[in-house]
Structures are given as C-alpha cells and as structure tokens.
Amino acid sequence: MRRIETDGQNTVPALLHSKTVSTRGETEPNRESRPADADDRTDVAFTLEGVRTGFLKCVPVALGVGGYGIAFGVVARQAGLSVAEATLMSATVVAGAAQLIAVELWADPIPVTTILLTTVVVNLRYSLMGAALQPWFDRLSPTQAYGSLFFMADENWALTMSELRSSPVDGRHARGAFLLGSGLAIWMFWVGSTILGATAGGVIGDPDRYGLDFVLTAVFVALAVELWEGRSSLVPWLGAFLAAVVAEYVLPGRWYVLVGGLVAAGLEVMRYDG
C-alpha cells in the first residue's frame, strides 16, 4: 500500500502542494500537530482499498445508470449506429447525457459540427465538478488525478464528494481512489447496458417503469442534505436554484448546471469579506 501526502506545511500555497508530494511509510507516530487555522483538508491516500470501496458503494447507483444505458443503446440503434459503434462510444466517451443528445442529433449525413459543439456544451459542467474536487485531487499525482477523471460521471462525482467530505474520521486518510473505483462501476454498467439495449432493447421496455430515472435525483437530494452547512448555504443555494431554473428555460442542454454553479460562486465571491 502506498499513500501520498504533502509535508503538512500549511503556509505553502495550494499550488505548491501538488509539486511537493512525497511518499512515506505506513506508520507515522509523531505527526506534527497542525495549527488551529490549518485547512480542514485531510491527507489523501490512493489505494486499492479505496478503489474497492468506491466500486462497491457505487453499485446500487450504477444500476440506475444501467437504465440510461439501455435507453442509449436503443436510441443509438434507431439512429443508425451499429452495436459496435454504440458500445465504442459508451466505453470511450463515458458521458451519458452528451451521448444521448448526440445520437438524437444523429442524421445522414452526420451533423459533425453540431454534435461536437453540443458535446462541449453539455459537458462543460464537468469542469466545474472537477474543480470542486481540487482540495483532495491536488494531493494526488497527475496520473492518478487525470486518470480518475476519465471515469467521472454525475453519479459517482456526487458519491465521491460525499465520501471525501466525510473522511477526516479517526485520522483515516481520505480515499483518493474512490472516484476511480466508483467510476469503474459506472463504466461497467454503462457499457454493459449499452450492449444490452443495442441488442435486445425492444424486449426490456421503458426503464422509467422501474423508477431508474429517479436514481440520479435521489443521489443528489441525499448529497444536498450532507452539503447543507446551515444558514451560510442559504444565499448561494437560492442563487443556484433560481439561476438554474431560469437557465433551463432559455438555454439548451445542461448549461443550467454550469450557470447555477457559477452564479452561486459569483455571489459568494462578492459576499466575501475576509
């Protein structure tokens, strides 16, 4: 087992942390106590145990992703993609909403520019979500961080935020590999269900019938409960809510996630008074 941590000097700007990553042995009895105003970040470990825990905790959620995967497989076939092409897309793009919208735009000839532009628009929210992981991912090596992000989807991002935020327990190190593990579960179910939907989709029917379309909403509601920090959350959350609802009316795709996040962050930056 290997773990990565910074040298505990909290005066070093966050930027430098990533450059001064060092590996140490497993036991470390005389750890320097940190000053009271030390950041509330915890040390981050990238371990096989983290991958396994992430994978197992994500399986129930990945079932919901499987519902979307079946839908994607069906729609992709109707749009004229072969089973191999649909599977290739799911295995390499790994972005449910963007893929569903892309195959809905699919036509003959293929509207390449429209599809690629839409992909960016629908996926820009991922940049914001990746940025939210920065306090922990700063402490991983570039390979670990950028490799894990390939497997980031809405669902396992939510689980990972919840996991990392609750991690300073019993001095345990935060599971930096949780995003990778949970992402592998998502990936397996996503690719598997795409194949299922593309080959036998007509037999299974509408996944909404089993409530699978509600899984993502449920995960996010549960995460909201965890993220609530009392009255200080009220103003930014109201801002995010209103901005997202309005943006959903006037903008295409998933721009509303980006707009909501940015408006709330902007509000917070303006309200900041040291």
């Binding site: 790994v94 992909t119 991922y126 914001l128 909403t217 965890e226 996040g261």
Partner: protein, 111 residues
Amino acid sequence: MVALATASWPEPRLNPLVVGVIVGMVVLTYATKVGGLWVLRRLEVSERVEAGLSILPGAIVIAFLGPELVTGGPAEWGAAGLVLLVAWRTESIVLALGSGVGAVVLLRAVF
C-alpha cells in the same frame, strides 16, 4: 457480458466517419472533465476566489435538482421529500436511494 458481446458481433461494423466523430467526442469530453482541475492546479487562487470555489459542490447539486424538481410532479416531489428525510435521519445514501426509488414507483402508480 463478453459472451453476449461476441455472440451479437458476427462482424463488428465500424464506419470510419462514425469512429471519427466518436474520437472527437472523446477528446472534447475528456478535456471538459480534466479542464477545471488542470486550470486550478496552475492558478494562484485568492482567498476570495477560494470562498467561491468552496460552495461549488452544494451549488452544483442544487443547480441539478432545481429544474428537475420544478418540472417534476407530485410523485417526484413526494419521493424527493422522503429521500431528504431518510438521508437526514440515517445518513445512508443506499437507504435514501432505495426508499426514494421505491416511493417514486408507488407514487407514480397513484398520481
């Protein structure tokens, strides 16, 4: 799954143009996934901006849920309320998830 895949792929049909579009989607999607972190690792962020970043997780979650719930109906609202309650009392995502999905199926049958 492997058996299914081989059984259903007598001759994988991969159109070069389709593969090209997929490659484009892969590159752009991956760029959006790593872009935010990549920029933050290279920028010196002031405390003011840090304060803005710190509320991103909650804001993103609410931005997801806002339109979802506004466009939903009584079944979704009721199930979301139950998830809220279960998550708050038990702090278990699995329990919250299970009760929410169960509730939405039942409530949709009613409404």
